[in-house]
């Protein structure tokens, strides 16, 4: 299958600061998440893909063409930016209609498309109000509408759920899923794993300007299991607990932290560890106050992958 986005040694520097670092990838059509903590380089990567920035080194191609200053590419992509910025003196409808006009549509067609796009994102009710009066969720929907108004083949959504309420989040998630089912290619960035997981199983993980891994959720979890997980247990009888953990459970490292009254372990097999620990916890004489793991956070995922590299 032909790639819609192709990057070769793609690098972007802001002076001496690295935005994107030597990224090589081929993204086939479909819905994909771009995951990374804040400052990982997601927005820079998306700006390179949408032709707003020019690579410092290497190249990026979208639909086989360089996107920088390329009207043919712009006709085929819809971009929903992260920043909460608008021509706030316009109504939502005027904003979307104007951007449809800038996409090359005649006034009547731009009007029809703007109405349809606003309806699609569920913004018809308030589309004739000034954007300045909109809530964050309304503004997110309006941004989505402008990205959809010219019916692009590739949608690039930078943190589209940021700041939305639960209903808005559900609606926008459903909208993105629906667009995916219609056959649109979508690249959606977020720093929240479950946001992206709600729309796709396919991920790209980016950190420090580099793409660390790509694949589906299972593959990425598999990668995570290659490096140890850290689990911290606050408990009584820490020396005794540590001995039993070393003897009975699959751990690769252990540390007693008397200051925090905790035992910290590293394991490559968290499933087996939790099962064995459940039995141990039920034994007499051990009092477990708290057990925490950092594995559910995106930061932990990236720390694992950086450590692996």
């Amino acid at each position: 299958m032909d790639s819609i986005i192709k990057a070769r040694s793609l690098t972007k520097l802001y002076g001496v600061v690295i935005g994107v670092n030597d990224v090589t990838l081929d993204l086939p059509p479909g819905v994909r998440g771009l995951l990374g903590p804040n400052g990982a380089g997601k927005s820079t990567f998306l700006k390179l893909v949408t032709g707003q920035l020019n690579p410092t080194e290497g190249e990026v191609r979208v639909f086989g063409e360089r996107p920088w200053n390329n009207a043919d590419v712009f006709r085929r992509i819809g971009f929903c930016p992260e920043q909460d910025s608008f021509y706030a003196f316009l109504t939502g409808y005027e904003f979307v209609r104007t951007l449809a006009r800038l996409s090359g549509y005649e006034p009547a067609e731009a009007k029809r498309r703007a109405e349809r796009a606003m309806e699609r994102v569920g913004a018809t009710e308030y589309m004739h109000r000034k954007i300045a009066t909109y809530s964050k969720g309304m503004r997110q929907r309006t941004k989505m509408a402008q990205a959809l108004v010219h019916d692009p083949a590739l949608l690039i959504l930078d943190e589209p759920l940021s700041g939305t309420d639960p209903i808005g989040r559900r609606d926008l998630t459903e909208l993105v899923r629906g667009l995916g089912r219609e056959g649109k290619s979508i690249l959606v960035s977020s720093h929240v794993l479950h946001e992206v997981q709600a729309v796709t199983e396919e991920f790209l993980l980016i950190y420090g300007g580099r793409v660390l891994a790509s694949g589906n959720v299972r593959e990425i979890r598999g990668l995570m299991n290659e490096v140890p997980h850290r689990i911290t247990i606050r408990c009584s009888d820490r020396k005794d607990v540590a001995q039993r953990l070393m003897r009975d459970l699959p751990i690769t490292g252990i540390e007693i932290d008397e200051a925090r009254e905790a035992v910290s372990v590293l394991t490559r097999d968290p499933g087996a560890f939790y099962e064995g620990f459940r039995r141990l916890a039920l034994e007499d004489g051990v009092r477990i106050m708290e057990m925490t793991t950092e594995d559910d956070t995106m930061d932990a995922v990236f720390r694992y992958l950086v450590a692996r590299d």
Binding site: Y14, Q52, A71, F74, P81, F86, Y87, F89, L90, R101
Partner: protein, 250 residues
């Protein structure tokens, strides 16, 4: 280009900043009123003094200031508002962005400037000086058009502190325009002065006339048109080649 011009006009007319335009354009009227009360220009050389007065106020100062204010912000305002993303991800040639904004700014600034100029002329009570008024109107419209193009070019190349760089240019332009010989003829002001004086039948020494504006009327108009075209081309080239970073990226 149409939607860009429409967007720019809506933006300008909707901003409180536009009140400054009216404020600036009211200043000459407040200056003209006491001059009329003391019958100031009759003591001098009549329309010559009045012409210099109007020229210095309108094309040279107020039009330049207004063009500085709006021309330099063609790109920087979009960067500050973070709306440039919407314009730069559409299949719109970037020269259309510049030209569309330029046309809108000129269209918004020229009519109030001309109305203010005519009002000032009436307040001064310069009976019969229609040629002078026409010359001043030409120079005023030319100043808005030419300075907006030049400040748009400055704004396209220097999107950080464009106002400061524009102000430095303005100061240099004014200084150079009063240096006789070739130097003054390199300035926009020289050709604007030519527009202003060539329609007026005044009895002045040749050297004085040359200093005020030595180009013929068609020559001055053509040179200004060329200057405008060159500034817009350079401005368009800048937007096609430059990356504009938002503050967090910069």
């Amino acid at each position: 280009m149409g939607p860009i011009a429409w967007l720019q006009i809506r933006q300008m007319l909707g901003q409180k900043k536009f009140l400054l335009v009216f404020l600036f354009l009211a200043i000459p009227l407040f200056i003209a009123l006491p001059i009329r009360l003391v019958d100031g220009f009759r003591q001098w050389e009549g329309s010559v003094a009045a012409g210099i007065f109007l020229y210095l106020l309108y094309p040279q100062t107020i039009c330049m200031l207004l063009a500085l204010l709006y021309g330099t912000s063609v790109i920087s305002s979009e960067i500050e508002d973070k709306t440039l993303t919407y314009l730069f991800t559409r299949p719109l040639p970037r020269w259309q962005l510049i030209v569309g904004k330029y046309v809108a700014i000129v269209a918004c600034l020229t009519p109030p400037a001309l109305v203010s100029l005519c009002a000032c002329w009436l307040v001064l009570g310069l009976e019969g000086g229609y040629e002078m008024l026409l010359g001043q109107m030409l120079a005023t419209a030319g100043a808005v058009a030419a300075y907006t193009a030049i400040f748009s070019m400055i704004g396209s190349y220097f999107h950080k502190r464009p106002l400061v760089i524009g102000a430095i240019y303005a100061a240099i332009e004014i200084l150079l325009s009063f240096i006789p010989a070739l130097v003054s003829s390199l300035t926009v002001s020289y050709f604007l002065r030519s527009l202003a004086v060539r329609l007026v039948d005044v009895d002045l020494p040749k050297e004085m006339l040359r200093l005020l504006g030595g180009a013929s009327l068609p020559g001055a108009a053509a040179t200004l048109a060329l200057m405008i075209a060159a500034a817009l081309v350079l401005s368009s080239l800048a937007t096609m080649r430059k990356e504009y970073l938002f503050s967090e990226q910069a």
